[in-house]
């Protein structure tokens, strides 16, 4: 398989290894140490690190700037971009900015609604949607052109990803929706956090039945639960999240001082079970404000050391 970009993630997947990615949320301030410290904790345990883009619509250091900090410390960033905050001019401009620092991966998202964040009175842009953002990055890369038709000097070499949430409604279009993202040009997919494994497996079976797993690399998303409270919050308050009652009960039945360990154990069991599921090409470990646990999860799940891609 010939590589389309210099992306380490693309190379890892093309060599048939289970890929491991994680994420770092930029700080609510301008101190670069905050992002460097998080990345430093995980950098030897993952192949690439997503940098979130004003996640949950809370204003933070820009994703692109944080990606550059990671790149400068030798970590492979995955530049997350939401369509909520930029029109097509800013989108193309930031893609070129990322490419100028040799950032080789992007994850294209629509973004949470701004009503969840610290500026609920603001506008949202959505000049493009996430599907069209995927198309845009691929067009800029593959055609070497701007949306307006002009030529790009030194087009971006970006491996293009998108998100999939197998648990959102309506379930029946979750496989067709993935097909649509692949048709738009998504080369890798990172899924919503998986707690309902049966439902995830039903989804990915539908994906494989249509041969879609051959056309994109699906990284299964996992997030370790820190506490029973977090499990309940994720279940009840986070849009599009599916935390089955038995998971909440398992956390709640664990003594408080052992709940974090139980959350890690559930996370590792999830990875172990999904490793052998057809269509799963890797894992995206989102340890929200708990990055220090990523090395332990990767090691205990048998995903360490990370393969050399040459």
């Amino acid at each position: 398989m010939s590589l389309k970009t210099p992306s380490k993630l693309e190379k890892m997947l093309s060599q048939g290894h289970l890929a491991v990615t994680s994420e770092c949320g930029p700080p609510r301030g301008s101190d670069p140490e905050a992002i460097r410290k998080k990345a430093g904790l995980i950098k030897d345990y993952v192949d690439a690190v997503n940098v979130t883009d004003n996640q949950t619509s809370v204003t933070r250091m820009s994703s692109l700037a944080a990606c550059i900090h990671l790149k400068l410390m030798g970590v492979e960033p995955i530049f997350q971009m939401v369509t909520r905050d930029r029109n097509r001019i800013a989108i193309q401009s930031d893609i070129l900015g990322a490419a100028s620092f040799d950032i080789f991966n992007m994850l294209c998202l629509s973004g949470d609604h701004q009503s969840f964040g610290d500026n609920p009175k603001g506008q949202n842009v959505h000049d493009l949607d996430s599907m069209q953002l995927v198309q845009t990055v691929r067009f800029m890369r593959d055609e070497g052109k701007f949306l307006g038709g002009g030529d790009i000097s030194r087009p971006p070499k970006i491996f293009v990803g998108a998100a999939a949430n197998p648990f959102a409604d309506p379930f029946e279009i979750r496989v067709p929706r993935l097909a649509k993202k692949i048709a738009a040009g998504a080369e890798f997919i990172q899924t919503q956090c998986i707690y309902n494994l049966d439902k995830f497996e039903e989804w990915i079976k539908g994906v494989c039945d249509r041969g879609l797993h051959e056309k994109t690399a699906i990284l299964a998303g996992v997030t370790p639960l820190k506490s029973a409270g977090m499990a309940k919050f994720m279940k009840n308050r986070v849009p599009g999240m599916d935390v089955p009652d038995e998971v909440v009960k398992r956390m709640a039945d664990t003594p408080k001082d052992k709940q974090a360990d139980e959350g890690i154990a559930i996370c590792i069991e999830t990875i172990e079970r999904l490793k052998s599921v057809e269509g799963v090409k890797g894992f995206h470990i989102m340890a929200i404000e708990w990055e220090e646990k990523v090395p332990e999860i990767v090691e205990r799940a048998g995903l360490y050391p990370r393969p050399e891609t040459g």
Binding site: H113, S130, Q132, Q135, A164, A168, D169, I173, P239
Partner: protein, 222 residues
């Protein structure tokens, strides 16, 4: 129709508190249907203001007129002879009517008495909901007659997003997910395969983004 909502009376009082002679001007079109600015609401606002000024010990004259429309020269002309008598006119028309009034009558301040909300429909008495954002490039043929521009909180043309849950939008359990409605409708029409057609990047130049818009029909001009 254009759906509007009455402004809080305190805000209106703030505009007209120093006036001596006020006209409350209703509109017999959309704002009558949505019960924000028709003859009935003109009467209620006029009575409220009369009470207010009476309590303040002020002698303020308040008249009531409701025009057939405030977005047509023809009807606005009906107050040509009386408009200048007032030192304040509160228009209960939509923002279009308020502006058209202000363009026509230069010497009297025109104050808005309603907030213009959206283009919508009457779902039931007392419940109006948005249906259109006048993007100028209708795509309802592609989406089973349900508009993602006006009804999806992120105006996603290739939805639904990951926040759709039990048919509801991530921002509120009271708001239907437009894409759930689109999918249900496509299914009912036997066209679910159309869901997989990618909707191209939209030309928003016919929307607000393109600047103030105009429709010119030379064939019907006199």
């Amino acid at each position: 129709m254009i759906v509007a909502e009455k402004k809080p009376v305190e805000e209106i009082i703030g505009y007209v508190k120093d006036c001596q002679k006020i006209l409350i001007l209703g509109c017999n079109e959309c704002v009558t249907v949505c019960e924000a600015g028709g003859k009935k609401e003109v009467g209620v606002l006029a009575s409220t203001l009369r009470m207010y000024f009476l309590n303040q010990g002020k002698d303020v004259k308040i008249d009531e007129i409701t025009l057939e429309r405030q977005c047509d020269h023809e009807y606005l002309e009906e107050i040509r002879d009386v408009a200048d008598e007032y030192d304040g006119i509160v228009s209960l028309a939509c923002g279009v009517g308020v502006q058209f009034m202000a363009e026509k009558y230069h010497s009297v301040p025109i104050y808005p008495g309603v907030n213009t909300c959206f283009l919508g429909a009457t779902e039931q008495r007392g419940l109006w909901t948005e249906r259109c954002q006048a993007c100028g490039n209708c795509m309802l043929a592609l989406t089973g007659g349900i508009c993602p521009v006006s009804r999806c909180a992120k105006r996603l043309l290739n939805g639904p997003c990951g926040g759709s849950s039990n048919g509801k939008c991530e921002i509120s359990k009271d708001i239907d997910c437009a894409w759930q409605l689109i999918i249900d409708r496509l299914k009912a029409l036997g066209r679910l395969e159309d869901y997989e057609k990618i909707c191209d990047i939209k030309d928003w130049s016919t929307d607000r983004a393109g600047g103030p818009r105009k429709v010119v029909r030379e064939d019907v001009q006199i």
